[in-house]
């Protein structure tokens, strides 16, 4: 494999301008992350301390093996929702190492409204359990939640992918032999009570831990029974009488120690054997990525420059280098793991779409995971391209991609507009992990384009109805659309709505993907099988 030669001019004015711009974006992201992770009202911090409870991040730190990485997912989920009342969507999810096992962690955050689940909390927990199912990752639940946030119950309870899905996913995990452990630190009320109940193992902390379908106030209201939380669903009741939990723990530290010992009993994972070589770092510095990504969303850049800063030794075996050049396809190693990279270098034409479809099939044939690097404004439009079948060629790429049996990973590097998002394994296509860079923008089309389109539609409508054409009306359609888009196309909005598994600093891409690929190997490969390609 040959080493990619960078053509980046690191002393150019453009590089420096891009660098400053993207660094500033990353700093804003880091500040927000710091804030949602650690800023809590004193009142809440004090309340937890008085109960002898740790903050959820301290629990996680004590649970994980020392000096091992933790890949936190969706740290800025719900960050633009509920007026910021639900930092990180009131829960923490991520992949870490416990007693030598890769596990998915789900931790409630009792420092926010008693750990109550907002609609986006439910979405985040469901997603984390989806990841566990897809990648056969054991799950450790750190339970401490008051249950669903009642004022918003209609947005978190009734539908297919709402609260019920958490417990459905738990059952499916167990059915597939994927282990789950619950550590009950606080209250698990109502639906939340099923999390330990549906776990294979459950530990409960004496004094503060409790599991019940209805808490004392609801019981009082329903039947008049007057009972304390501990008597109703505490450690003694559940480990001696009901059997809902298995191990009583004297303290939170004790529960964590028992939990670590339980995980240590589990059989080692049976990972499928991927082609691998000893890893070596990229030849070029990762932080030069800041200087590559243009500050203007419209500006094109060579995705090979990004690849050279992510993959081992900056080496890429490029497939069909002289054909369909707006899509870069090739084999590389990432932390030693062989991957097939599909990266945008411009608009998708007929030839690039066909090349993409063929390369995806090659990766499936060779059991090589796929990495999609998105920067796409779509498939080429116009009569000439339609006549040559751009729609059916794009459909072939979508077919090959959607039916892939190898694990897929997507990084949203710059822009993701229109059908290009589909072909390049956007959120709907079950990428095992999908990460977003802070500069990223996403939408069915760019804001400016949507504004132009809607203004044009409005103009035609007025003409058709023979109404007077008022420039102000047209302009306001234009500016209102642009304004709405401006917020909704951003990476922050995207991650707030959980359209991804989190924003990452571009310089962390290699490490995040390394953990993601390693996790994906736990799930056995299914059979290669496609639908009908339209020729």
């Amino acid at each position: 494999m040959s080493r990619l030669q960078s053509n980046l001019k690191t002393n150019s004015a453009e590089f420096r301008q891009n660098y400053r711009y993207n660094r500033a974006l990353v700093e804003v992201f880091r500040e927000k992350q710091e804030c949602v992770r650690f800023q809590r009202p004193d009142r809440d911090v004090q309340r937890l301390a008085n109960q002898g409870k740790m903050m959820p991040r301290d629990r996680i730190e004590k649970l994980l093996d020392p000096a091992t990485p933790f890949l936190e997912l969706s740290s800025l989920a719900a960050n633009m929702a509920y007026d910021g009342d639900s930092p990180s969507a009131s829960c923490i999810t991520g992949i870490g190492i416990v007693s030598g096992h890769e596990v998915m962690l789900h931790a409630d955050d009792p420092s926010v409204k008693g750990g109550a689940w907002y609609p986006l909390t439910v979405k985040k927990i469901v997603r984390c359990l989806d990841i566990a199912i897809e990648n056969h990752l054991p799950v450790v639940h750190l339970c401490d939640s008051a249950g669903g946030f009642l004022p918003l119950q209609s947005e978190l309870f009734p539908d297919k992918h709402m609260a019920g899905r958490i417990f459905r996913n738990q059952a499916i995990l167990s059915q597939r032999g994927i282990k789950q452990l619950s550590l009950v630190f606080g209250h698990c009320t109502a639906g939340g009570a099923y999390i330990p109940a549906l776990s294979d193992y459950a530990v409960i902390v004496r004094g503060t831990g409790a599991v019940f379908l209805a808490g004392p106030p609801l019981v009082k209201a329903a039947t008049g029974e007057d009972v304390s939380a501990d008597d109703l669903g505490g450690a003694n009741l559940h480990t001696r009488i009901s059997g809902t939990c298995d191990y009583p723990a004297a303290s939170e530290e004790d529960a964590i120690a028992i939990g670590r010992e339980i995980v240590a009993q589990w059989e080692p994972p049976k990972k499928w054997v991927i082609q691998r070589r000893p890893p070596d770092p990229p030849e070029y510095e990762a932080d030069e990525i800041y200087g590559i990504i243009p500050s203007n969303i419209k500006k094109q850049f060579d995705m090979r420059e990004i690849i050279a800063r992510i993959v081992d030794g900056s080496r890429l075996h490029e497939y069909k280098p002289s054909f369909g050049t707006t899509l870069v396809c090739g084999f590389a190693n990432l932390w030693g793991y062989k991957v097939g990279i599909v990266a945008n270098n411009g608009v998708l034409f007929n030839d690039s779409a066909l090349k993409g479809a063929h390369f995806i099939e090659l990766c499936n044939q060779n059991n090589t995971p796929l990495l999609f690097l998105q920067n796409i404004t779509g498939y080429m439009v116009g009569r000439e391209y339609e006549a040559r079948g751009i729609t059916k060629d794009g459909a072939k790429m979508i077919m090959a991609q959607a039916c892939s049996h190898v694990p897929k990973f997507t990084v949203m590097c710059h822009g993701s507009f229109g059908a290009g998002n589909y072909g390049m394994c956007g959120r709907a296509y079950d990428a095992r992990f999908l990460f977003t860079w802070p500069n990223h923008q996403i939408g069915v089309m760019s804001g400016e384009h949507a504004a132009q389109t809607l203004a044009e539609v409005k103009l035609r409508q007025l003409k058709r109805n023979k109404q007077p054409i008022n420039k102000n009306t047209i302009d306001s359609v234009h500016s209102e659309t642009l304004e709405a888009y401006k917020e909704q196309v951003t990476a922050e909005y995207s991650t707030s709505e959980l359209w991804d598994d989190g924003i990452i600093d571009p310089t962390d891409t290699r490490n995040a993907l390394g953990i993601a690929i390693s996790a994906s190997l736990n799930a056995p490969l299914s059979k290669n099988n496609y639908g009908v390609f339209r020729f």
Binding site: M1, S2, R3, N7, N296, K298, K299, Q300, H317, E318, P321, S322, G346, V347, F349, T377, G378, M380, V381, G382, E384, F417, M445, S446, E448, H449
Partner: protein, 170 residues
């Protein structure tokens, strides 16, 4: 797959014809038989080429091999074929666009001397801006469009002055 090597300013194409019982290679179509390849240590080996024995020391740094043989050191560059294919762009006098679009900005002017890779023009198509750069060293002969002009697919956007066979620009 053939390998392309260059040393002392000359490049050679090498094809492996046989591996057993002896290694037979074609170097620019001339075949060479290599026997008795013995690795003495990590970087030292003895080999017999067309019946003549040699002691060889070799160090490899990335795409360059440093070979010490009969008291001389040769630096040999190993070219990857894929890389060569991608680099093998047409040495054209004309800069064209693969798709219809609009001129956003012109970075050069008529008569200006440019080097390979210098930005010539920024164009926009499908909401994406692309910088077209000089395919080779030369002088700008003509810029065919003005800023905000639209053009069709395949249109010539910038022409470089043609180069005569003696390497002089006409």
């Amino acid at each position: 797959m053939s390998i392309e090597l260059s040393t002392m300013g000359q490049s050679y194409e090498i094809d492996v014809l046989e591996r057993h019982p002896s290694l037979v290679c074609a170097i620019d179509k001339r075949s060479v038989i290599v026997t008795d390849i013995q690795l003495r240590s990590k970087d030292r080996s003895s080999i017999t080429i067309d019946g003549k024995p040699y002691e060889v020391w070799c160090a490899i740094d990335d795409n360059t091999a440093w070979i010490h043989i009969e008291g001389r050191v040769y630096s040999v560059e190993i070219h990857n074929r894929l890389e060569r294919l991608t680099l093998n762009k047409e040495d054209s006098d004309e800069v064209r666009s693969d798709m219809p679009g609009t001129v956003v900005e012109i970075h050069t002017s008529q008569g200006e001397t440019v080097a390979t890779g210098d930005p010539l023009m920024t164009i926009e198509s499908m909401k994406m801006q692309v910088i077209l750069s000089a395919p080779r060293n030369g002088t700008i002969d003509r810029i065919h469009y003005k800023t905000s002009n639209t053009f069709d697919k395949g249109a010539v956007l910038v022409s470089l002055a043609a180069v005569s066979h003696h390497g002089q620009e006409k």
